[in-house]
Structures are given as structure tokens and as C-alpha cells.
Homo-oligomer: 468 residues x 2
């Protein structure tokens, strides 16, 4: 079964059960998504004021067999928040944005699902702590969606994914019951791990309404370097070297193609090197108070230079320079957008497979079509954004018919090396076909059994992750 | 439904399907457990040689409705490996103990479920890496059981529980299908998190057959100190101080009662202080190469002393002294055993609730009965072993009728403060009643739905975790 549409009659009946202000206008923002590929639909946009009201909505949906799409900041890149043609209840958590409590002594913060990531970061900072989840959409993305999709970002190498930053969840399950799991415990072995089941389920098993989150001591001293490396293999050796020294917060791979895109579109970032290198890495350190990151980065450079891994480098000497280096990395997605990608891939690989993959998959793609590849991303996590672009002077439109085939070349190469076709963006609706093709049959069967057991009416985000 | 017994006829039929050597003698070791409280039963002990043979056993059990109890090292403390009177198939992983692969460059090791923890640690060490899971039974406990119970131990503060050390699982699900999930990825968002569902399910949702595990760089320099603290509250302040300095691997609380038990039973450990203090902490540091842990511990002592948190201390000046200090902590369970506990509690609390709990729960217990409390454990994780003993000159036998009531006082006090009645030992069969009393109703209902969906015949470790 899958949930059906919210008819106007049902909408009126639902509205009668909710508090003032719960019904929102169905505006474009709720129906579009960042890449502009799909458009969703809505029988109503409902923004409950509290968890009890979320439960009321879910009970209503369950009783009437109506589809519900949980809606956070709308920043998802795989269409999980966008159900076309079904007129579901779009359940927006936007009014539930409280930081319910901060426990600095425990390194714990409790936030509602509608809290914006940047606000959670700020609340942690105000308490003298760090909430390390950090990604491009942090000014818009909300905690519920970040957890439902197990978001990644630039600090995963050190602090883990959203999953690893969550100690407990409050959620409304598809039967309308409230899961009271806002624990603040580092160890708790009392039954099945529903928290991690809801995290990454992309709203198909319930609605996350609040979370207890892990905080960390703020680093006492931070530093950043951009180092020219001999290639992905050298970058990995350098990563191991950096990790043995300790304190690595981020280790990002940047290709010459990315730097050229920045230059070609005259984006306002300072090129770190006079001659654009083929490959470089951005290394970020966070050390305890008294540490000297610039000195440690210097030692890393020297050791890498001696080993033939590194040939040039810039070590930031001020906060302003750190931001300049980071701006290079963070502006690459904008440069990609302006160039116009044929296909974008968010993949991960076992670390030691990364260099071979980049080489072999690149060769296959170049044999199949004339194109440019911008390969960049979170090398420390084995997570690459491996995006395909037309050659100079041609447009992505000319490649429309080839895009699926080219994407398939990438996905097959990833699967052959034990990688994942979705590292940090999730499955949503975009990657349901890939899920079917590359998913383990036993896993898919167990997922379906769990879905049917917890959501027999199929009301929760139907079509996402599992397909219809 | 719950699985039934393996009759002699069924046993012969099963034996006919398996390779030579799969059937083991049903010896006492398989039926007893470390605390000697219960005795299990077995229609047969089966030790498959590989994953396919595990699947064959599960298919047989499924087809004939026979109960299966996965059996690792037999070290569990809550009876999860011990099913009385049902004559199940005891499925021992003892023959599947291979380290299948080590990837030092990726900080990954793939071990079969029957690999003994100490062997996994050694394999990591041989590759110049650290596998940080460490607990008293590491010479006997096997990876499958450690993962199925999400084991903890002394390094959780820094490296996490068994759950956090696992990147992927191979398992046989209750329908006999093989889950091929031995991924070596740091980021993978492709569907529901079955890995974490199986971890901590204590064999009720399937049999873990192999795991890909996270390794870490070996610390370049390690150090240990035992510091006398003013009480649990001072200990927590000192913990925050130590964490801001970085590199804390373990932070263990030790009570004067524990030190007195060591002395009373003349156990062969050196008392760290001339006068036994009321409270002390064991602090362990692991720093990158070039770090100076003794110097950092000195700074910690000085800062703690100035703040009135610390009054005395010993900082190990050699590996031998480190081991001496650790021996104090590690011999306390033996001292407890010789004293004879009325009740042992493996609890966790939100960190800031720990001091209030120790005080208030202690007062309630002393008001209810004449007894001694030995409170010790992994303070950094909020995990206390809060064990109750008769006063000197009396025996635990005299308290037999009171034990349940006293345990209930502890559990109630834990629940009031948002804690857990099982921090690291799991639920097994010992704590099913507590699970029912303190478990969240929505969680219990969802657990039951998942169990019935994945194991409709109820063959997997029936009675554990969920009860009958």
C-alpha cells in the first residue's frame, strides 16, 4: 500500500483538528528543490507547533490513508522532499525550531527538528562548545532533515556523519505513537537501535521531531593549508601522515579542473597557486589549546615534500587567509553550476580504491564521450563528488541523451570497487533505480519487511528510498 | 511464535546436511555462563565452517521451527547466550575465526564473527594500527558476540562502543538469506541502517558472521595517572579539563570501597596511596608521536589541584607503573566477586546527573538496608558499575530475599534521572523485566513489529531482549 492524496474535504477535516497557524500557504518554496529537476505537490502544507500536533497529523494520515512528506529546509539534492502528483500532506517542521536545552558539562544539546543547523552551531558556540556538522546549506537545512538523510559535510573525517552526532531521538512513528528517546547517554544497550534506523530512513519510517546531539570542546587552535600533491595516491599517503600527527578536521581533494572552472567564471576567490596544479588538497587542523597548527602543517609539508608527495603549498598565517583557502573549496559547487554538469555523482569508495577508481573510471568516460571531469570532495572519507561536464564550447543540453549512460559508467565502476552510489546525499527519489540495481537483495528484502511492519498503510514519504 | 526444540530426529537430519566437524559435543562450557546464575540447554552444538553453512543451519531451523541461539565466547553477563529448557541449536562461531583482510592504508580490518578480540587487537598491532575495543574478557570474547551486544569497555570515551567501530556486517538473516554488507566505507547513505539494527539485537534478528572494523593510528605516546579527587562532582570537572587538553583515552572512577576490597582480599596489586581515599580517578592519555603525556598529566594535576578538585596523585613514570595503576582498576571485579555482591548494576546516566545519583541513590539504599556500595567504572561515559555488598561479617546469602527490592531502588533512581538500566551488558534474559518496566512503549511496540517482520517463526534467540 502507499498513501493516497489529501483531497480538499480531507484537508478541511484535518485543518479542523489543528491549532491556529498550523496550515501554511502552499507556496513555490515547498514544491521546488535546489537543482530544479523535479516539482513536488501538496494537498496542504502543515506546520505543527509541537510534537503532539505532529502525532495528530500522522494519526489523521494513518486513519485516512493519506501520504505524508516530512519537510525540513528543502535543501535535499535527491528529491526526497518532493513527491509529485500525489498531493500529500507536506509536514513542515519550521515552527519547531527551539533549542530545548544545552548541557555544556555533558557536551549535549537538545534541538527540535526544525532548528536550522547554523542556529544549532551558534547555540553550541554560545555555550563554549562545538557542534561540528558543517555543510554548504547550513544556513537553511534543518536538524530533522539533516538527521533523516544522515548528512555528511566537511568534518566527517574527525567527528563523523550526522548519525554519529546524535545520542537520542524523539520521533512520531507511522502509527502515530511518539518515540520518547531523547537520551543523553554515551552508553545504552536496551533493545533495538531505532535511533539509527530512523536516521537515514529519509522520513519513510516516521518523523523526527527532536534530537539530543553531541557537542565537543572547541579546538584551541585551528590552521589550514593548501598543498599541491602529485596525485590522488600521494594525497592518500599525505592523509595517513597527517592523521598520525593528529588533529585533522578536514582533508579535501581539489582538482585542477575545479580551479580552472573558478578562473573561467571569474568567481571572487584568490587562486592559491600561480600555475594551476593538477591536484591539491586542503588540510584543516584543530588542535587543543597550546597547539601550533601552522608549525604542524609545516612539518607535514616538509615530510610530504621529502617523500615526493607534495611539491608546493600555502599555509594560512591568519584567520583571513584560512577563510580565503576555504573559499576556494566552497566556491567550487558554484563554479560547477555555472559550467553546467552533464551528471553529478556523490560517491564513496574504500580509501585505497580511490586512486585506481579515478584513473580507470576517467579512462572509460573519456573513451565513451568527449567531456571534462571535476573530481573533488572529502577525500578523507573516501567521498568524491565526481561530476561530468561538456568540453569547452559545448553545453550540457547536447548531452541530455547520454547522461544516463555516462552516469551508469560511473556507478558500475563504483560498484566494482565496493563503493556506494550515494555517500552523503541519500537515495530520495533520484536514486531509487540505483538502489534496486546495486542494493544487496537481502538488504532490500529486509528493508521492505521493516517498512511494511512499521508503516503498513504506506503513508510515510511513499516512493522515497524503496520506490513504490 | 517462538522456535521450538531440536529433537533427536531433527538433530540427525540437520547433521546429515552439514560438513564433517560441524557438530560439536554438548559440553558444560556451552551451557554455563560466567556468573553461574543460569544454565542453558542445547539440542545440538553446531559450529559451521563458513557463512554458507550458517545459512544452511538457519534455513533448516526456519523450515522446522527450531530455536537458534548464536554463541560467541560465552562471556555475556545477562544470559543472552543461555536458553534454558528449550534444547535449541547452539550455533557456535568458533570455527569462523579468520582475519579475512587487513587494509592498513584504509584503517580497516575484516574479521569473522568467531575471531577472538585479543586476536583482532594483535592483527591490528601487527599492521601498525590500533583496534581500540578493550575489556576484561578480551581473551575469550568473540567479535560476533561483542557486536551483537554492542560491547563497551575502557576506551569508549575516545573511540566509541563496538557499534562505532564497525563499518559493515555480513550476517545471516532469520529467513536464511545472507546480508552482504562488508563495506569499508566511511560514508554510505543507501537505505536503512541494518548494520546498527543487528548490532545490539543480541542475536534476535540474525547471526553476524563477519564485520569490517575501524582501525586507528597507534598512539605515539601513552601515559596514565591516578588522582585523588574530592568526589564525583570534582571528578567530572577534572574530566572536562582533561578533555579540553585532548587525548583522553579513558577516565575511570574508583571508590575507596573498591580499594578496601582489594586490600581486604589481599589481592596482588599495589595500593596507589598510603591512606585509602574516598574517591580517585584513573586517567589514561594517548597522544600523537612527539607528545609528552606525563607532562600533560602534570599540568592536569596542577590545574585540578588549584581548583580544589584534586588533592593527591600518582603519575606513572614507566610502562611498568602504568600497568600497576591499571591493575588496580582491573582487579576490582575480582575483589567484588570475592566479597560477594547482593546485586550488580551496569547503569549509565547523563554525565551531569552522576554526582546527584550517587548521593541520592546511596542514601535511599542505606535507608533501606545495611549494606556497602562499590561504585566504580567508566565515568567518562556516564557508565557506573554500582554494586551492592553486605556489611562486613555478613554474606550475600542473607540478602537473597531483599536483592530484587534493592535492585529496584537503583533502577528507579536511574530511570528518574534519564539513565539506562543497561549501559554496556545488554538485556539478554536477565533484564527482560526491566526492559518491560522502563522501556518506552512506542519503542517496545516497534521492536516487536520489527522482530515479527524479520523473524516470523521466532527462531532467533527466542526470549532474549523482548521476552516471550
Amino acid at each position: 500500500m502507499t498513501g493516497g492524496p489529501l483531497t480538499p474535504d480531507l484537508r478541511d477535516a484535518l485543518a479542523g483538528q489543528l491549532s491556529d497557524g498550523a496550515l501554511r500557504e502552499v507556496s513555490d518554496a515547498y514544491l521546488s528543490e535546489p537543482r530544479g529537476t523535479w516539482r513536488g505537490s501538496a494537498g496542504a502544507v502543515v506546520a505543527p507547533r509541537d510534537t503532539e500536533e505532529v502525532a495528530k497529523v500522522i494519526c489523521f494520515a494513518r486513519d485516512h490513508g493519506v501520504a505524508v512528506v516530512p519537510w525540513g529546509g528543502g535543501t535535499g539534492l535527491v528529491g526526497g522532499q518532493t513527491l509529485p502528483n500525489a498531493a500529500p500532506i507536506l509536514l513542515s517542521l519550521e515552527r519547531m525550531r527551539a533549542i530545548r536545552a544545552v548541557y555544556p558539562d555533558e557536551n549535549v544539546l537538545v534541538a527540535e527538528a526544525g532548528a536550522i543547523l547554523a542556529d544549532v552551531q551558534a547555540a553550541a558556540r554560545d555555550a563554549g562548545r562545538l557542534f561540528p556538522l558543517s555543510l554548504a546549506s547550513e544556513g537553511t537545512a534543518r536538524m530533522g532533515g539533516l538527521l533523516a538523510t544522515n548528512a555528511g559535510g566537511v568534518n566527517v573525517l574527525r567527528y563523523g556523519n550526522a548519525r554519529d552526532l546524535c545520542l537520542g531521538l524523539e520521533a512520531v512513528l507511522p502509527d502515530g505513537s511518539i518515540l520518547h528517546g531523547l537520551r543523553r547517554l554515551r552508553k545504552d544497550n536496551t533493545g533495538y537501535d531505532l535511533r539509527n534506523l530512523l536516521i537515514g530512513a529519509e522520513g519513510t519510517l516516521g518523523v523526527i521531531t527532536a534530537a539530543s546531539l553531541r557537542l565537543f570542546p572547541q579546538p584551541g587552535a585551528e590552521g589550514t593549508a593548501m598543498l599541491v600533491v602529485d596525485g590522488p595516491r600521494a594525497a592518500l599517503s599525505l592523509l595517513a601522515r597527517a592523521q598520525a600527527m593528529g588533529g585533522v578536521s578536514a582533508f579535501e581533494l581539489i582538482s585542477g579542473q575545479g580551479l580552472r572552472f573558478l578562473r573561467d567564471h571569474a568567481l571572487p576567490v584568490r587562486q592559491p597557486f600561480d600555475d594551476i596544479p593538477d591536484w591539491c588538497v586542503l588540510v584543516d587542523l584543530g588542535l587543543p589549546e597550546g597547539g601550533d597548527p601552522a608549525c604542524q602543517l609545516e612539518r607535514l609539508f616538509e615530510a610530504g615534500f621529502e617523500a615526493g608527495e607534495v611539491s608546493d603549498g600555502v599555509i594560512a598565517q591568519s584567520e583571513a587567509q584560512r577563510h580565503e583557502l576555504w573559499a576556494v573549496r566552497e566556491t567550487i559547487p558554484e563554479a560547477n553550476k555555472r559550467t553546467g554538469a552533464i551528471a553529478s555523482n556523490d560517491i564513496s569508495l574504500p580509501l585505497s580504491e580511490v586512486p585506481g577508481f579515478i584513473e580507470a573510471c576517467g579512462a572509460r568516460l573519456h573513451a565513451a564521450a568527449e567531456l571534462r571531469i571535476n573530481c573533488f570532495g572529502h577525500l578523507g572519507d573516501g567521498n568524491l563528488h565526481f561530476n561530468l561536464f561538456p568540453p569547452e564550447g559545448r553545453s550540457k543540453a547536447e548531452y541530455r541523451d547520454r547522461a544516463a549512460d555516462l552516469r551508469r559508467i560511473v556507478d558500475d565502476a563504483v560498484a566494482e570497487r565496493g563503493g556506494s552510489f550515494s555517500a552523503e546525499h541519500g537515495v530520495g527519489r533520484l536514486k531509487v533505480e540505483q538502489m534496486r540495481r546495486y542494493g544487496d537483495p537481502a538488504k532490500l528484502a529486509a528493508m521492505r519487511a521493516i517498512k511494511d511492519a512499521l508503516d503498513p498503510a504506506g503513508i510515510m514519504n511513499p516512493g522515497a528510498v524503496l520506490g513504490d
